[in-house]
Amino acid sequence: MSFRRDIWRFVNFHIQSSLEHSPFLNPLRGKAFPPPAPPKECLFLTRAGLATRQRSSVRSKRAYTSEASRDDWKMTDDVSNSCQWICRNICQHTRFFSPSLPLSPAPSQPILLPPRYLRTSLLPSLVRTQFKRTAAPAPAPWHSSISFRFVSIFASTQKHEFSKMTRPRHPRTRNPDPEEDSKPTTSSSSGGGGGTAMRVIVPLQGVVQGRGGLVLGSVIPCALFYFLQLYLKRNRSREEHPPPPPSPSSSAEHLPEVPGLQRTLSRAHLSPRGPAHVSGRVNAILRSGDSPDIVGVKKYLEDAYDKMSNPDGVIQLGLAENKVGSDLVRNWLVENGREAMLGDELSISGITNYQPFDGLMELKVAVAEFMSQAIEGAVSFDPSQIVLTTGASAAIEMLSFCIADAGNAFLVPTPYYPSFDCDLKWRSGVEIIPVPCRSADGFSLNFTALDLAFSQAKKRGVKVRGIIISNPSDPVGSLPNRETLYNLLDFATEKNMHIICNEVFVGSTHGEGFLSMAQVADSEDFDRSRVHIIYSLSEDLSLIGFNVGVIYSFNQNVVAAAKKLARFSSISSPTQRMLVSLLSDTRFMQNFIRISREKLGKMYMMFTGELRQLGIECVKGSGGSYCWADMSGLIRSYSEKGELELWDKLLNTAKINVTPGSICHCIEPGWFRFCFTALTEEDIPLVMKRLQKVTETCKSRS
């Protein structure tokens, strides 16, 4: 121990004295140049690492003198710090290091060791030692500056060796850093192992070695990974989707027109330009013109049937208009309409002033009560989860906007209510993925098909956000059973999707076994936040013109968003006031639901019975104001074309407007929806007579 300490002192002394003698460190001692030759002991120390040639010190002197004159290095370093640093290095390199030695801490000042230190023959050998031992020397600012010079000094003697070692470090001219100063020591002390560790990353050395090593090293591969994914996704969607999705495409298709929209700033073109263009997305809506249902309604409006004034007019069986209970409501309105609207105390401000956009609380309470009344009080609904809108269309649009982003998709079992196409696609830009149901299953939901549709959508890279079902099913009129609803919830939970349940015909069930989604969600420990129910007062109350839709959601976030969006479709207060009174009249409402259900059931039996006599079979329905009839025996070719031909014949020859299955996206041609509730009982024979004409001509031809 004492021997080591002696050596330490010795080295310390010699280096300090040699540095002090330098004319550049201490210009007053200019004559001390050249400094005393390195003491033998010092050489001995360094020889532990390698054999220094005597010649080297001479060469370095020469090189230095030639260089010193044009050197403009500033002396900003702390000499004692430098010395301590050097000493520490010596100790380590020569394995004399002992923790008990009084090592000064790493210098707080950055050390820029100017080339003049090269004069001491000790230093070159030191550095060389280090180079030798660590295959790829770790960075240290002064190293780089020294080694830079060093190459020139030793170029002749050890060209191959140094050039190999120093080259990768030439561009590194970073600011010295106290932290980095201590690093070379650790690396060199760790010996060969550290050297090989560094070797591994040599190709990325410039990137990952610095301070941001961890950050860059993780961000860059991550970014690469993401780009790769993005690239793959794009390529895939391009291959599999020749026509891009509707909403972006509408703008894209518009693009070629843009040049026509030239808006140059030049005043020279003051001549009238082309007409101002509408937005691209609205062009798509404009073009989505005349599907059979719209044509049918138009035809009906032009030439509506009336028993007295127009007995040969078109009979409307295409709109789910419920006139069964309208007498009752009409009478109620005549009696109570005025009081209902103005209230008891005739408070005008209740209807003229601004009201909450999402509906009056009184109406929400009344609607919640009515909804629970319609399912015989099986569940009670919470008024605070209700948002009122102008009609079920607005409710569906709003829900789809809140749940899905543009380009996402909903799974919808077919045949489905034709308006979903407009409600979901137009402004929300949501895709509909049809899940075909077949007549063989009675058009009930097929989970294999559902699963298949889901996985296919996933393969295409389309995000499926939910399932929309109608309960009672809209064109078919059947009721999904308990098991189907539970399975559906399980499926949604498994795939992490939302369920939108369209229950607008809840009060129009005439068969047994209706089960609301709310009941199912209530009864078991499902994640209810994925269940949303759409309801409407139009169909059940025969109040189609009132246009009141209801969103009932178990998801607080969706309710919050829908409440804010309700500003775009709020119901006018006179209507709301009227409905509050109507719905609060529980005696009337109970009576109304009972009578209208009875009437509906009777009408259904009568209508389907008559159809059966004509040889047209219907799917057994227990809800809704319509029946789903199989007329595939009457179509000439078993295809959509044949179906539309028959529809055209029904409309123009028989003057009956019905809904063909193809616009409900039914995959089997030949199915038609007959909304019989728009008729009175006396009109049924007339409809049958007209139908008979068509069936006879079809049969005679075939």
Binding site: T186, S187, V200, R211, G213, L214, G217, S218, I220, C222, S251, H254, L261, R263, L265, H269, L270, P272, R273, A276, V278, S279, R281, V282, L319, V329, R330, L333, V334, G337, R338, I348, G350, T352, N353, T390, G391, A394, F401, C402, I403, D405, A406, D423, R427, H498, R530, G545, F546, V548, N557, A561, R567, F568, S569, S570, S572, S573, P574, T575
Partner: protein
């Protein structure tokens, strides 16, 4: 690699690079998938999220506060006085009188004939964009409101559930997501929601200054347009309010001509929000866009007028808005889009009767103007007394008040502090100019038509207190 000494055990070894990249990547992916999986049903869609969490501008915060603690002379004399909602309650007695006389007839049919169009018309299917009778009545009403010189074509009218969806539908029809509208500031705070939320359209403010009496300058318009083009943004139109909403001034004929010229040169649309056309109380002449278009041979297909019954007929709760467009494509599209926001049939029935009663409407409009004028005079003289400046306006149900004298410094922050002081200390809810995107701080919009004369004095008194507090603190 040295730097990662704390993680040396993992990244220092031979597999340093692999582990050092794999671990953060895996962590990142894991968190990402977790987030998607577990938040998917809780969360609303990405586009609905900003709407659900919409940051409340002072305009909406103020309205919310008032609804919690409304002023009432008897029941709650320390409540907040509402000066933030442009609602007209001055002529409710007239409407009430009419309704009590005619309601039954309007709803059920005239002369007590129960089989008349009445209830059948209410309960059956209606065209979403409004029944033709109401459109005709509305066209008549609009021309009556605008002085009877202009005639409106009922087939160019689309009725919506309020002016809010009317603006949204127009925006949707005229611009694609990312396109922009130029809107002169200060503008109605609701535009931010109506025009941008679902349509994805952006609003570019065109600043007007008090020095110009807040009249739009074409140079500013041109500049904003050029800047937008430089950014690569497509400007699809200009939205002007006439009478201007927070300020209450009317656009001069020349400015309207200039704006039309500008729109034609740039081939952009022009939407004129004339919802306050019937609430003009000054002597200045009001020039509707329709009037300008009638007079000259402009390309009309780029002009669209917004109207509603909320302000002029004091029927805010009825939710009736009007799109009057000269562009056939826009009309066709808007008609289709009204399926999402149609006016319910009972309201339509009622309005047909109300609007067809031209003698009542004439009387109503006349009285309404007089009463607004009276209230304006009272309010303005009160402001003069306490030494607060305002813009002389001749339209609208509000006054654009310069309260920068009550602020310590000229900044938006100070303005909001003053607003806060008015709301919480003085208990008066006014709309600060920053909510209207006014570029000059210190302006407030005060609507005076929801109050009675006595309450206006109370409101002025409360503002005076704030002014005195300011003086004493200085």
């Amino acid at each position: 690699m040295r730097l990662v000494v704390p993680l040396r055990g993992i990244v220092g070894g031979r597999g340093g690079l692999i582990l050092g990249t794999f671990v953060p990547c895996a962590l990142f992916c894991y968190l990402h998938i977790r987030r998607l999986r577990f938040l998917a049903t809780r969360r609303v869609s990405e586009r609905a999220e900003p709407i659900a969490k919409a940051e409340e501008s002072p305009y909406y915060v103020g309205l919310g506060r008032v609804s919690q603690d409304p002023f009432d002379e008897v029941a709650n004399p320390n409540g907040i006085i509402q000066l933030g909602l442009s609602e007209n309650r001055l002529c409710l007695d007239l409407i009430e009188e009419w309704l009590s006389e005619n309601l039954t007839g309007a709803m059920i049919g005239h002369g007590g004939d129960k089989r008349h169009l009445g209830i059948g018309g209410i309960t059956g299917y209606q065209p979403h964009d409004g029944v033709t009778e109401l459109k005709e009545a509305m066209a008549g009403f609009m021309s009556q409101v605008m002085g009877g010189e202009i005639s409106f074509d009922p087939s160019r009218i689309v009725l919506t559930a309020g002016a809010t969806p009317a603006i949204e539908i127009l925006c949707y029809c005229l611009a694609d997501p990312g396109d922009a509208f130029l809107v002169p500031t200060p503008y109605y705070p609701g535009f931010d929601r109506d025009m941008t939320w679902r349509t994805g359209v952006e609003l570019i403010p065109v600043h007007c200054h008090s020095a110009d009496n807040f009249i739009l300058s074409i140079a500013a318009l041109q500049q904003a347009f050029n800047q937008a083009r430089k950014r690569g943004q497509r400007v699809q139109g200009i939205l002007i309010s006439n009478p201007s909403n927070p300020v209450g001034n009317l656009l001069p004929q020349k400015t309207l001509h200039d704006i039309l010229d500008f729109a034609r040169n740039k081939n952009i649309h022009i939407i004129s929000d004339e919802i306050f056309a019937g609430s003009i109380h000054g002597n200045e002449e009001f020039f509707s866009l329709a009037k300008i278009l009638d007079a000259e041979n402009f390309d009309k297909s780029r002009a669209h007028i917004l109207y509603g019954l909320s302000k002029d007929l004091s029927l805010a709760g009825f939710r009736v808005g009007v799109i009057y467009s000269y562009n056939d494509d826009v009309l066709a599209a808007a008609k289709k889009l009204t399926r999402f926001s149609s006016v319910s049939a009972p309201t339509q029935r009622l309005l047909i009767s109300l609007l067809s009663d031209t003698s009542f409407i004439g009387r109503y409009l006349e009285t309404n103007r007089k009463r607004i004028r009276k209230m304006y005079d009272i309010f303005v003289s009160g402001l003069k007394e306490i030494g607060v400046k305002y813009v002389d306006s001749s339209g609208g149900l509000y006054c654009w008040v310069d309260m920068s004298g009550l602020m310590h410094s000229h900044s938006v922050k100070e303005e909001l502090e003053l607003w806060d002081k008015l709301l919480n200390v003085a208990k008066v809810n006014a709309t600060p100019g920053s909510a209207c995107h006014s570029i000059e701080p210190g302006w407030f919009r005060c609507c005076f038509t929801t109050l009675s004369e006595g309450n206006i004095r109370i409101a002025i008194e409360r503002i005076r207190k704030v002014a005195e507090m300011h003086k004493s603190s200085r």
